[in-house]
């Protein structure tokens, strides 16, 4: 067990977001956390990553290092791409030579070119920035990575290649991951297990294992599964936009 949330509850300004939430993450497991927008998925992720203290319940961590990939790249505009990717290693106290070498290796893995490393984030395209953010997370050799809707603002073709990148990295390095998303097909592509989260009573509505390994599922399978689950009442919150907005 890498991570376990037990009976976690949180509220903002008296409004309860969720209550009695249980969530666990096994070694090498990628869990997708789905829910309609505004249901508190990001808050769950922040609590899991230790960025926010839960008001109730407890979080148990059985790992050493974690990294977070945010919705926006969150690169330092005043640092070159190389320094940005190496930032986690710098925070971990690594020397400049070791962290530069690691940053350059990780940049190659995520498909950044050597010439891009001396550029500032302003000179990179949106997709390249998010690649750099993924490389920054991978660079510290994390045991757990938290993804907070990382590919929402990226166009469809690029989104696929970034998803493949995460799938390949997870298979290669065996990190566990909590992947927050509101896109069911993205979740089905990337994850081993799916947790549907509803804001109304703060419980997990469904907890489903997905057949096969990420990366080995073909498009037909993903499409069929998404379609089948779309008719499932447990998933209705995800698609019923009108109701979740009026809530």
């Amino acid at each position: 067990m890498k991570l376990a949330l037990r009976k976690v509850g949180h509220s903002f300004l008296g409004r309860t977001l969720f209550e009695n939430l249980d969530l666990s993450l096994d070694a090498g497991e990628v869990v997708a956390l789905l829910g309609p927008s505004g249901c508190g998925k990001t808050t769950v992720l922040q609590i899991a990553a230790g960025l926010l203290d839960p008001m109730r319940g407890r979080v148990r961590r059985g790992y050493v290092r974690h990294a977070v990939v945010f919705q926006e790249p969150r690169l330092m505009p005043w640092m070159t791409t190389r320094d940005n990717i190496a930032y986690g290693l710098r925070a971990a106290g690594q020397g400049i030579l070791a962290r530069t070498a690691a940053a350059e290796r990780r940049a190659r893995e995520v498909g950044l070119e050597f010439a891009d490393l001396d550029k500032y984030p302003a000179e990179l395209s949106g997709g390249m920035r998010q690649r750099a953010a993924v490389a920054r997370a991978l660079a510290i050799d994390p045991d757990v990575i938290f993804f907070d809707e990382p590919f929402t603002a990226i166009d469809v073709g690029l989104k696929r290649s970034l998803q493949d990148l995460v799938i390949a990295a997870a298979a290669r390095e065996h990190f566990s991951a909590l992947f927050v998303t509101h896109d069911l097909s993205e979740a089905v592509r990337i994850a081993h297990r799916l947790v549907i989260f509803s804001g109304r009573d703060g419980r997990a509505l469904a907890d489903r294992a997905i057949a096969g390994q990420p990366g080995e599922r073909d498009d037909r399978f993903i499409l069929d599964l998404v379609e089948a689950w779309a008719r499932d009442p447990a998933f209705s919150d995800l698609f019923d936009g009108a109701r979740s907005d009026s809530r």
Binding site: R74, A91, Y120
Partner: protein, 272 residues
């Protein structure tokens, strides 16, 4: 290889910075042209020509007493600038992290800013007498709030999203200050520091003139009592030259280096 590339980039930056001085020189020559026009309208007694003034600058530059007076003023202005910037920036930065301090200090800053510098000079004269100390104190009191407010604003408006990112990687407070807050703070501090540098010269000369404590201000008082208009103009030119030097030779290059990343991503041709 990388060293060569870096030194080449540095040389290119130095060249660009020096080249941009032409634009600044053009602005200064416009001022000189207007001055010349004024001189031709009112004559040498009211407004000596730029050339006469430059000649006078050369004359007083060769006098041994003047170098000492200028050095005195420079030292006082520098001491006042350093103290105001150091104390103002440090306290402002700390206050930026604390909401209570921020609320508490805001009216105090307004009070200090609201007191005219001239009254500080009067008070400093009473407290310190006719020494350089009163000039320094006046500079510090008059310009400390500017750095304070800049530091406070800079810290208060730091990018919280980047701060959270740094925290998620386990970055400690000091590393986060250096990598997240400080680069953002610089864009608030430099305008404050250049303002302080400019006013440090002005206020020092003013305090020296009123307190009769030597320096360029003392020279100015003597020249005024003798109705030596070219000498007055020459002294003004010297003070302005000092201010220009401290801004464009000392502060601006540092700022330009620190803020190079802002030029990144802009297409060629609109950089400057």
């Amino acid at each position: 290889m990388r060293l060569a590339a870096h030194s080449l980039a540095f040389a290119a930056w130095v060249g660009r910075y020096l080249w941009s001085a032409w634009v600044g020189a053009a602005g200064l020559f416009c001022v000189a042209a207007a001055w010349q026009a004024g001189h031709e309208l009112y004559g040498s007694f009211v407004l000596p020509s730029p050339l006469e003034t430059l000649h006078e600058v050369a004359v007083i530059g060769s006098q041994s007493g003047f170098a000492r007076a200028a050095g005195e003023t420079a030292l006082r202005a520098l001491a006042g600038f350093t103290l105001a910037v150091a104390i103002g920036t440090a306290t402002g930065t700390i206050a930026g992290y604390s909401f209570a301090t921020m609320r508490l200090m805001a009216p105090i800053v307004t009070v200090i800013l609201g007191v005219p510098p001239i009254t500080w000079i009067v008070l400093a004269l009473i407290w310190f007498g006719s020494t350089g100390g009163s000039a320094v104190l006046t500079v510090v009191l008059a310009s400390l709030p500017i750095s304070f407010v800049a530091g406070l604003q800079g810290v208060a408006t730091r990018d919280r999203a980047l701060d959270t990112m740094a925290r998620s990687f386990g970055a400690g407070g000091w590393l986060r200050f250096r990598t997240v807050t400080a680069p953002h703070l610089v864009s608030y501090l430099f305008p404050a520091w250049t303002t302080t540098a400019g006013s440090a010269w002005k206020v020092t000369v003013m305090a020296e003139l009123l307190s009769n404590s030597g320096g360029i201000g003392g020279e100015l008082a003597a020249a005024r009592s003798l109705f030596d208009i070219p000498r007055v103009m020459a002294l003004i030119v010297v003070v302005v030259a000092f201010a220009l030097f401290s801004e464009y030779a000392l502060l601006q290059p540092i700022r330009d280096r620190l803020e190079q990343w802002r030029n990144a991503g802009q297409p060629w041709g609109v950089k400057r």
